[in-house]
Each structure stands twice: as C-alpha cells, then as structure tokens.
C-alpha cells in the first residue's frame, strides 16, 4: 500500500466533511421554525403607505390579512382596474369579509382568539370608501383589533 505514496512526500489530509450535512440540516430546521409558509399568491398590487411610528405585529399566527389594491395585470381583464379586496386566494367584496373573519377566527385555538388581529395591507391610493366598508364589516364581526400595515420610512 505504502508504495503508492513513495513519489510525492506527504499530502495534506482532506477536510472531514461528514458533519456538513448535519450543519446544513440544522440551518434548515432553524429556517423552518422561524419562518412561516407564504400562504397566498397576491392577486392585487399594493404599495403600502410609509409611516414613522410603526409597531411590529406581535402574533403572526393569530392574524388574518386583507389585501386591498388594484388587480395585477394578468387579472385586470377579469376584475377591472379599480381597487379590490383580496381574501386568501380570491378577490371578493367587502360584505364577504364577515364570513372570512368568522372562518379564520374559528380555526384558531380558544386561547388565541382574544388576540385575533386583522392586518389591512392596502395600497396608499385606495379610496377610503373601501377601507371604511371593510372596517364597518370588521366591527360587525367583532374583529376589533386591526392593524394598518405600512413600511417604515427610511431615515434621511
């Protein structure tokens, strides 16, 4: 055996990579735990308003999102170009928010229900009429904790 090595002195031993998969798996699990699956594909375009006094959303798991904006280019033909409301994967009307809230809140554990929050992600050009309609429906559904989603203003 040793005669094969005769010619060229000692070689650098190769690094042991047998633990590399374990390392990567650890990172993988870390990411799986801290992130949540992106649940919906957006069918409306929105550019969130900017603000300075924002708070972080505390409990993402007990939050529902309502997206409001203009339909994406692919869906313009179907829905027109006025601002629309997207709930889960469908574009719906304001009164249907009620069923949406009931359904979403119903899925939560009893302990999480008091923390149920609705985050409104709306385009900054949305007419307030739509927002008020949604808010009135939310009140009716007793989903009183809401959040106006926004982006942090870049400091100059």
């Amino acid at each position: 055996m040793s005669r094969f090595n005769k010619g060229g002195g000692r070689e650098m031993p190769e690094m042991n990579t047998s633990s590399l998969p374990d390392l990567i798996f650890t990172i993988l699990f870390f990411f799986m735990m801290v992130t949540t699956m992106r649940e919906v594909t957006l069918q409306v375009k929105f550019e969130k308003p900017v603000g300075t006094q924002l708070e972080k959303l505390a409990r993402k798991s007990s939050t529902s999102f309502i997206y409001i904006g203009q339909p994406t280019d692919a869906l313009k033909g179907q829905y027109g170009s006025s601002h629309r409301i997207q709930l889960n994967d469908r574009i719906l009307e304001a009164p249907q928010v009620y069923d949406f809230v009931m359904e979403e809140r119903g899925e939560l554990a009893e302990a999480d229900k008091p923390f149920y929050t609705v985050s409104i992600k709306a385009d900054h050009h949305t007419p307030m009429g739509i927002i008020t309609d949604v808010k009135q429906v939310l009140r009716k559904a007793y989903a009183l904790k809401i959040m106006y989603s926004a982006n942090k203003q870049q400091e100059k």
């Binding site: 990579t17 047998s18 590399l20 998969p21 990567i24 798996f25 990172i27 993988l28 990411f31 799986m32 801290v34 992130t35 949540t36 699956m37 992106r38 308003p49 603000g51 300075t52 006094q53 924002l54 708070e55 972080k56 959303l57 993402k60 939050t63 409001i68 929050t117 985050s119 709306a122 385009d123 900054h124 050009h125 949305t126 007419p127 307030m128 009429g129 927002i131 008020t132 808010k135 009135q136 939310l138 009140r139 009716k140 007793y142 989903a143 009183l144 904790k145 809401i146 959040m147 106006y148 989603s149 926004a150 982006n151 942090k152």
Partner: protein, 196 residues
C-alpha cells in the same frame, strides 16, 4: 466467504447537496418579513338602542380632522397641511395655557408619584374622511397623531422619570399612558364634498 466481506458504507457525500436544496427551497417559499403597522382598535358595533343617544362630548373637547376627496385637510375650522397635524394635535392634547377653545383640563392623580397633573382627560381626536380620500393621506394623518402622542409621552416621561417612554419599565409606562391616553376616534364614515 461472502459473509466475511464488510458492507461498504453508504456514500453520503451528496447528503449535503440534498439538504442544501431543501434549505434553498424553504428560503424561497417562506417569508421572513415582519409585518409592521399602526395598531388600532375599532369601537364595538352600535347596539340598536344606542343609536339615538350618542355619547355627548363637549365641543371644545373634540378635534375634528376632516379630509375631503381631493385630500385637502381641515383641522377644526382651518385649512391645514399634513405637516401641521402633529403640532396642532400636540397643542390640542396638552392645552398648556388652559385656553377656552381647547379641551378642559382635569386633575389626574397619580398615586405612585404622589402628584396630580392637569390633563385634558376627555379630549377626543376624530378623523373623518370622504369615501374618495386616499388611504395614504388618512394613514399619514394617523401616523402624525401617533407621533404627537409619542412626543408628549416622551416629554412627560423625561420630566417625571428622566428617561424616554420606551426606556421605562412596564409600570411606569402604564402611568404615562394613563396620564396621556391615546384617544383617536374611528369615526363613522360621512360624506364630504364629493359625489357618491
């Protein structure tokens, strides 16, 4: 003979690649973005018998901010710009000079400090919009109001505790919040200067 041969170890050199693929898949499909925004709580839906007897608030205690469909602002009775909102709100909430057109000052006793502060306990800031108002403008007004409250709380915290509001502990924050509670009314929608 065959039994003596050792089982060759499974080649695991590609496990790293496989797990890398999984990792990248998860990175792509998940979102890390923490949602930020302004938290608000809506009032309870009106009961039937409550409809007619709305809570009476003295006129001097209300600051009306109206935004019309062209995004023009009216604070009280004056035209204003977004930049004015914060100052006007601060002046209104504090009413340092006890002006008669600003909300009435009421004594607020803080047991923990053994002091009594004169604060505008019953003030309400109401933001009213037209159906055609841009959400962005409405949001900017809300943001300015929150920043007015935050500045007032910061000033008060510095004066009483020597630190900014966020640096106080939970009990102290509660004291400050009780002295200057956030009272922004989510008013019922009304129609101003625009066609339906």
């Amino acid at each position: 003979m065959g039994k003596k041969r050792k089982m060759p170890g499974l080649n695991t050199s590609s496990t790293a690649d496989i797990s890398f693929m999984l990792l990248i898949f998860f990175l792509v499909t998940t979102s890390m973005d923490t949602d930020q925004g302004l938290a608000r709580s809506l009032p309870k839906p009106p009961e039937d018998d409550q409809l007619n007897n709305e809570i009476k608030v003295k006129e001097r205690n209300i600051l009306n901010i109206r935004i019309n469909k062209d995004n023009y602002l009216l604070i009280g009775d004056d035209y204003a710009t977004l930049a004015d909102v914060k100052e006007r709100a601060k002046e209104f909430i504090k009413n340092e000079d006890n002006k008669p057109n600003l909300p009435e000052l009421k004594p607020h006793k803080v047991k923990e400090l053994g002091k009594t502060f004169m604060v505008t306990e019953n003030h309400v800031i109401s933001v009213q919009t037209d159906r055609g108002t841009d959400y962005g403008v409405y949001f900017a007004v809300q943001d300015a109001l929150v920043s007015a409250y935050n500045e007032i709380r910061d000033e008060f915290s510095k004066q009483e505790f020597g630190y900014k509001y966020d640096q106080l502990d939970a009990d102290q924050q509660k004291i400050v919040r009780d002295v200057y509670p956030q009272k922004i009314s989510e008013a019922e929608p009304k129609k101003y200067g625009g066609q339906q």
